[in-house]
Symmetry: D2
């Protein structure tokens, strides 16, 4: 099972710690962490997974695999810029959004558009902004809850 982690490139220590725990929990349950491969939430989630033996994949915006954070085991340098978000939004079984700004929002929207479940951990309150299907966009309050919901998807 591949879980997409979406969130900002520069984040607070608290959000980074949340992302680390999410990555660790996914790895402990045998899941693969897939993300944008850069810093912030992406790096912390990869680190959490990496340190507990999990597989990590980074779908990079640039053309150089050296852009990946050091915990990405398989870097995919797409050269597509932000359009690489469309690939991330296509590839995973479920998504956990942790904090984040416009880039994160675009990935949430694309994942929902692709019929995937998105779990928000302190990310956008999308249900306040327009019609959102509560079966697919779910607010969680702890990394444990978020990972449990994500790993339970069975479309």
């Amino acid at each position: 099972m591949i879980i997409g982690i979406i969130g900002g490139n520069k984040v607070s220590d608290q959000i980074a710690q949340t992302a680390y725990l999410v990555g660790k929990l996914i790895a402990e349950r045998g899941g693969i962490v897939l993300c944008g491969g850069l810093g912030g939430v992406m790096e912390s989630a990869c680190k959490g997974a990496f340190e507990f033996g999990g597989m990590t994949i980074g779908i990079l915006p640039g053309t150089d695999k050296a852009d990946a954070n050091p915990y990405v085991k398989i870097p995919i340098p797409t050269g597509l810029g932000y359009a690489r978000n469309a690939i991330i939004a296509q590839t995973c079984d479920a998504y956990i959004a942790i904090g984040g700004a416009y880039g994160t929002l675009s990935e949430i929207a694309m994942a929902l558009n692709n019929g995937k479940k998105v779990i928000s951990l302190g990310s956008w309150d999308l249900e306040k902004a327009g019609p959102v299907d509560a079966t697919f966009f779910i607010q969680a309050t702890t990394p444990q809850d978020a990972v449990e919901i994500a790993m339970a998807v069975d479309y």
Copy 2:
């Protein structure tokens, strides 16, 4: 000046009429309408521009230019699927979002991420969902207002 029109592929008559007026007003002011090239808001906006002599460009998800609505003068069949939204979000001077669901939301988010102004006409109330810069995400109530704001951008 290129104005991006974003909105759903199947919409109510009222939203279609709004999109038609927006397209017409852009053409009358000498602007170019760029959109996803399909039906609904996209077709109505193209029709409004087309019938008043405006240029219309459709950035299509598929590989066949015949997918474009009949008011697209220049079809660009990208073959990229939803990732073509990233191109739309890159190419215009400003964006008008009319109604719309997740696909529209992803384009709004990407355009904002690219530092572009987005005017919402009955689209997502993004300011309720998280931190949004009110200089770049603007609610309008009439097609006239929306087009005036969009055509006035001068980054």
Copy 3:
């Protein structure tokens, strides 16, 4: 009718002159020139079309429309890097390849893969490298011939 012009970003004066003539001839026959929007063959072809009143479209690799050469009327900054070649190879009715290196070769191959005709003007001798359908990959010796063949496509 949209004709794709493919060729290098930095070229000799002779190749540039050929590209200029090709652009001029397309515009005179009412065709649209579409290309990668940068310098060299792309710029010369756009200039030829532009100076004779033709429409020119540039599918740019970067995110800034200012990257386009000054003769591009409609710049499409895709942000996709080289993957933008796939869009160019999808969008036109026929292609004229003028000189060029690996990037040009990739566009020729993708256009042929999409079932489009490609006319080579001093570009790759593809028929020497493997099985090529002579109905779709055609060597021309003059800009006049190349444009005549390209504008006559009727799949």
Copy 4:
């Protein structure tokens, strides 16, 4: 080390057997096989790697991971159509082209354009079609030679 395998979706038994051997040899040397994830050369190379414990990644053109052949361990459904070839051409340390038609040719050209080594095993004789740098485009005659050259790259 990630080795890209490029080749057709439907191929002869002989080419399939070559691809199987290439995949096996890469896995035995600890390399990762990355390809377009579909049938033919891609499936045979994945099968060879899979059966000898290797990691296999498929960069799919469509949006459904079920399109991947059964030997792809990590499917990446890009939804980009043929533009996914640009990602394949970016992601690997070296490439082995086995047989193949226009799609294979486009990947060879893009990989060379990205400064990567491409080893041809019965694929295009590119050196006959135009100027090709013999350091980067190399004809091999056996799977053993091809894999040895590919795994030795050290840019």
